[in-house]
Symmetry: C2
Subunit: 386 residues, 2 copies
């Protein structure tokens, strides 16, 4: 097991009605920037509930609305400006990962002497941030409990993940019933995102990260059990609750710390979203089985066989056979059980003209992953996914 | 899944050499009470290392030495007195669970207007405590990351567990190499303690606590794999590291929150330790299989069958058969693989004269457990364990 620092300071109130604790935000100060997306929280009443609680706690509210699904740096800059002008004490996101990611860089950008895009390109520049809180409305990115944020400058086809410990939310409200209204398509995409987060840590070159790998297998089992249930019974509380809590643990450090690994499929997907603005989880669903097949070899078959046996109860004795069966199970889960797209054409990517450029950018992040990938490897993965 | 608050503020530095971070304690203030046990940390150099780092950080050190294996309230009172007289800012335990538990109640007792025993009898009286830190030297109780403390008044045969969120350590140093010198007997007892903590949450009446139960199964697998390795190869780093990290997660809230359950085997064991001062983990090792057999019935067999299939890969199709096989595996692990005692006589309990009195006290805590137990049930468990 590698050396690590484990520290998740987030206070998570989990369950029905836990939004009643939102007034605790006033402990951080009386001025809150409320960040949200397209306005669905206004239609379903969550906005009114939250605003009512914040008012009762004596808080003054400023707003940053209209955060995009792939949040833009321009929106972050707007939030920073409001925070500075109004002297915000705390930033509260109500929404999914995009909204929370945006709120995070707003919180850090407000205390940074320079342009917020610097922080996206270089996480080490973030030493402090305003306290961050979230009310989660979709289970996917795990941003409610992690130190990451992904921000785009789509004008330049740039989409980067950045991270810093000061971005970990101080308080998150996780009420699974808020995700009942998440569409089938977004439920499936979110599930693919959770899976990919788990895989990015699970496939580690550290063989003795047993605690982390066994927990990861447990989380995968939960996702495979409840993903289809949530798809077919949107208001099944147990399914939504288990997906929500698995999503947070998939990326909060629990399965990564001590097994630390550079991520691989995520940076390859980020180029798809940056160039084509596709849904992140759908891109991951397409790439994951292709990536698994591409890196399967004599060195990695033991890992895939473990995965197959421990998660899918595959009984093949030969490691390579067990690996292939495990990858097939994964593909079938994504495409058959969750109805996710199986290739890039299915999400509207009809030509390969950017593959070279995308692969070059992705390769900046894949040199030290579980199986290191070059630009040529990544191009080949895009081609096989096409 | 039940509603819950998940909050583990502990900053854990895990791995070889992580004691270098101990100087961070000075952020809490310059005066530290150093709490330790029988002096083994002086013989192995850990004391000198820690004191050197604290001095370099400009800290002034006071000492509470000689904490007992079942820490006594008298020792706690002594610590409280020192803290008050010297104006301590932070309490640092170097040792195992007993030492950390003692430090916790010292930290809370210092800020409590009354006798520290009140806090053992009623955790709700603890609203604040001095910041608590630990350097762990044995993997067992999980006190380094949890909100519990067990304190005894052996003069009155009293041993109680108490808890409060303010008892969660702020900083813990977990260096697995510090546990290389733990004796075989204590390694085995610690492993039984870890197992029991996992079981106390794993056997929950909340059927949809999947995230928690799947993680618990992962931790159990780790314990079953590495317990015997640590026993036979005391300086196997991977074994010690996995046991150490599993021990912390067994009780830090990860597998309990959302599956909340009142503990059962622990209170039954606490009476054994309170009346006979036996080693806690040995008492648990004796009681656990007896308890499992005692509560196995048509209502519980599904839970034990899950345990057998998911943790021990038992293939029996009938739930009752699978349950019995799982309990037998558990017994065999404890007694054959770990060399733990199989009955009360083996730890020197040669008569049953206190069973009635012990059962009466234990029954105060077992009315709402996985399978509720009466005084008569507990007496019968003691008898079968005899």
């Amino acid at each position: 097991m590698y050396n690590f620092l484990f520290h998740i300071p987030t206070k998570v109130y989990f369950g029905r009605g836990q939004i009643s604790h939102l007034g605790e935000l006033s402990e951080y100060g009386k001025k809150v920037l409320l960040v949200y997306g397209g306005g669905s929280i206004k239609r379903n009443g969550l906005y009114d509930t939250a605003v009512g609680i914040l008012h009762d706690a004596g808080m003054e509210i400023f707003e940053l609305a209209g955060v995009e699904p792939n949040p833009k740096i321009e929106t972050v800059r707007k939030g920073v400006e409001i925070c500075r002008e109004q002297g915000a004490d705390v930033v509260l996101a109500i929404g999914g990962g995009s909204t929370i990611d945006c709120a995070k860089i707003v919180a850090a950008g407000t205390l940074y002497d320079g342009d917020a895009w610097d922080l996206v390109l270089d996480g080490s520049k973030m030493e402090r941030a305003l306290p961050i809180a979230s009310v989660l409305t979709i289970s996917a990115t795990g941003s409610e409990m992690d130190r990451y944020a992904v921000i785009s400058d789509l004008g330049k086809n740039e989409k980067w993940s950045t991270d810093a410990r000061c971005l970990i939310p101080s308080l998150s409200i996780l009420d699974p019933s808020y995700t009942f209204s998440v569409s089938k398509r977004q439920t499936a995409a979110g599930t693919a995102d959770i899976m990919s987060h788990i895989f990015e840590s699970y496939f580690t070159t550290e063989p003795a990260a047993d605690v982390q790998r066994r927990i990861a297998e447990g989380l995968l089992k939960v996702v495979f059990k409840y993903g289809p249930v949530a798809l077919n019974e949107p208001d099944n509380y147990d399914a939504r609750a288990n997906l929500m809590w698995a999503a947070s643990h998939a990326i909060n450090g629990l399965i990564a710390d001590g097994a630390e690994q550079h991520w691989c499929v995520h940076p390859i997907e980020h180029e798809l979203s940056a160039f084509y603005d596709i849904t992140h989880g759908e891109g991951l669903a397409i790439l994951t089985p292709v990536w698994m097949e591409y890196i399967l070899n004599d060195n990695t078959k033991g890992y895939f066989a473990d995965y197959g046996r421990n998660v899918w109860s595959i009984s093949e004795e030969d490691d390579l056979d067990a690996s292939k069966a495990a990858i097939e199970k994964t593909r079938s889960f994504l495409q058959d059980s969750m109805g996710l797209p199986s290739n890039l054409r299915a999400v509207g990517i009809m030509d390969d003209r950017y593959f070279d450029q995308m692969a070059e950018k992705a390769a900046r992040s894949t040199a030290a992953t579980f199986v290191p990938l070059t630009k040529e490897d990544i191009k080949e993965i895009y081609r096989r996914a096409f």
